[in-house]
């Protein structure tokens, strides 16, 4: 509609939209700097007291460690299983291939909330509640279907001729995979890994259901419990929220180019 020329009011609308996107976060940042917390107009005093108290007087630091450990393990497990599966789905012809891919797609659309009760019962029976393992397993299962689809379409875009040449030259299938496919797959793996990492970092409802015990919480769960554990101290909650937003924002900032490259290369067949 406005391909050739932007109307003057487009700038006004976009400006207001940008303001709507950024202003609440800017306000959250100001709130986190206010040691007297809770005065809307701002008291004019700024300090990092809230950050210090969140990091050193609560268990938030522990929660950052928990989240990082769980996220890294989840990324590793997801990428490993997804790459193996994607290799099979991309490089072999076999009976039931398309059916398997569609079942995977259906599985990826399962609502989390519907399976939480059975999962909780299962985890309780296996005595896995409040462990890193259960979170890693569940998150991996959750991210696998989408990641497998993504990596497969990425792998489909890598021409198989190079591998075939390597096989003719006496390379084993595994050797051809590690020496030829994997290096070309790297940008796709970075993009997929980033998506999985940010998913784990931001996930809440699974984590609060399966690992709510005080020392096992993830950052998002810790933020929520801050309200009940320490009372409604918005300044500190704001500081915690700002800290929790930084890692995914940084990752996106630094890996933006790989992400776009990886995703677009995967999407174009």
């Amino acid at each position: 509609m406005f391909r050739d020329k932007a109307p003057w009011w487009a700038y006004v609308v976009i400006f207001l939209t940008s303001l709507g996107a950024v202003a609440p976060l800017a306000w959250l940042f100001l709130l986190s700097l206010d040691p007297n917390q809770g005065i809307a107009s701002g008291s004019g005093v700024y300090s990092l007291k809230n950050y210090a108290s969140v990091l050193f007087e609560s268990m938030m630091a522990q929660y950052f460690i928990n989240t990082t450990v769980v996220a890294l393990f989840t990324v590793f497990c997801t990428l490993t299983c997804a790459t193996l599966g994607a290799y099979a789905a991309s490089r072999y012809r076999f009976r039931g291939r398309e059916t398997i891919m569609i079942v995977l797609l259906l599985a990826s659309m399962t609502p989390v909330i519907a399976v939480l009760v059975p999962l909780y019962a299962m985890a309780a029976k296996l005595q896995l509640l409040n462990t890193y393992s259960i979170l890693v397993i569940v998150f991996t299962a959750w991210q696998l279907p989408g990641t497998l689809w993504l990596i497969r379409s990425f792998m489909n875009s890598i021409p198989p001729e190079l591998e075939e040449a390597a096989l003719v030259d006496g390379c084993s299938r595994a050797g051809a995979f590690f020496r030829i496919v994997l290096p070309q797959l790297a940008p796709g793996l970075v993009a997929a890994g980033l998506i999985v990492f940010v998913y784990v970092w931001n996930e809440f409802i699974i984590a609060v259901s399966l690992a709510a015990q005080q020392d096992m919480r993830l950052v998002s769960v810790g933020l929520y419990f801050y309200l009940s554990d320490f009372g409604v101290e918005w300044g500190k909650i704001a500081a915690g929220a700002i800290i929790s937003v930084i890692p995914p924002a940084m990752l996106f900032l630094f890996l933006q180019r790989q992400l776009i490259h990886g995703l677009s290369a995967g999407a174009v067949k």
Partner: protein, 292 residues
């Protein structure tokens, strides 16, 4: 021997993924249906009780949940999709520093649901929130949206759309940009107005994507728990007690696993219908863009 191994190997390679997905998504769903049709006492699953658990949904409180979910999903869908289409049309225009503007508009997408909920809860707080302060100073009114039924629902929709519409915007923008410019040039030569371009080229061409976006958004909104969980806990007076939140609270607050599972079955079936429509219509052809 060799052929057996090479025939089996694709299946072997798919085994780890299949096992995990089976154990964590498909098996629990079967289990969910099992629990839904049985009496429960905490974790103990008792005798088959027909559809008795489902009856817990068909009372005044259950109906409120259906209503609340319908209002929440429809309002969020309409708001998010129309914002996305409108802004995509504007961001397609040759604006100055368009790349930067596009990035800024996307920022809320990076914020987690937990932070979104806490942020808006703080912003809308009746005592110290900036909006309450503004209402007090400018109009001398008190402002406590989370305290009344309509206000709480509206606040939740706003917070939800704030975080989720950028995703729809990206997809709509991509769809608009993929329309070949020859179509517009041809229309221009035939004397089409801007409005006619929109009506007869942009919207029909991007319509398919809009439908995909609508389904994906509906998915997300139907099963959303985190935002009502933190912002309103379903209150006041159950006005924001969405079905998905009901599933969680029946299980983890009231320990009625049977009721929870029955509600879960309802949510699951609503989703399944959407999923089948989605897969049949779009995913089989161009499976790559199913990433949420």
């Amino acid at each position: 021997m060799n052929t057996i191994v090479s025939r089996a190997s694709p299946y072997l390679l798919l085994t780890p993924a299949a096992l995990i997905i089976f154990a964590i998504t498909l098996y629990p769903i079967v289990n969910l249906f099992w629990i839904a049709f049985h009496g429960t006492n905490y974790f103990q699953i008792g005798a088959f009780n027909g559809g008795a658990n489902f009856l817990s949904l068909f009372n005044a409180s259950g109906m409120r949940s259906f209503m609340a979910t319908a209002i929440f999903v429809i309002a969020s869908d309409i708001l998010a999709l129309s914002l996305a289409i409108f802004l995509a049309l504007l961001l397609e225009a040759p604006l100055r520093s368009r790349g930067l503007l596009r990035t800024i508009v996307m920022v809320p997408w990076l914020v987690s649901q937990v932070v979104t909920a806490l942020l808006w809860q703080a912003m809308l707080d009746s005592n110290f929130g900036p909006l309450a302060h503004l209402a007090q100073v400018m109009f001398g009114m008190s402002f406590a949206p989370l305290g009344d039924e309509v206000g709480a629902m509206a606040s939740m929709v706003v917070a939800n759309v704030w975080r989720s519409y950028p995703f729809a915007l990206v997809l709509m923008l991509a769809a608009l940009q993929s329309i070949p410019s020859e179509m517009y040039e041809a229309a221009r030569i035939d004397g089409a107005t801007r409005w006619q371009e929109l009506r007869y080229i942009s919207l029909p061409m991007a319509g398919q994507t809009a439908l995909v976006v609508l389904i994906l958004l509906t998915f997300e909104y139907l099963t959303l728990v985190t935002i009502p969980f933190i912002m309103t806990s379903g209150g006041p007076n159950e006005a924001t007690y969405l079905l998905s939140l009901r599933v969680w609270r029946e299980a983890f607050t009231n320990y009625h696993f049977g009721y929870s599972a029955a509600t879960g079955v309802v949510v699951f079936c609503l989703n399944l219908v959407l999923a089948l429509v989605y897969i049949r219509k779009f995913a089989i052809k161009g499976g790559a863009d199913v990433q949420r």
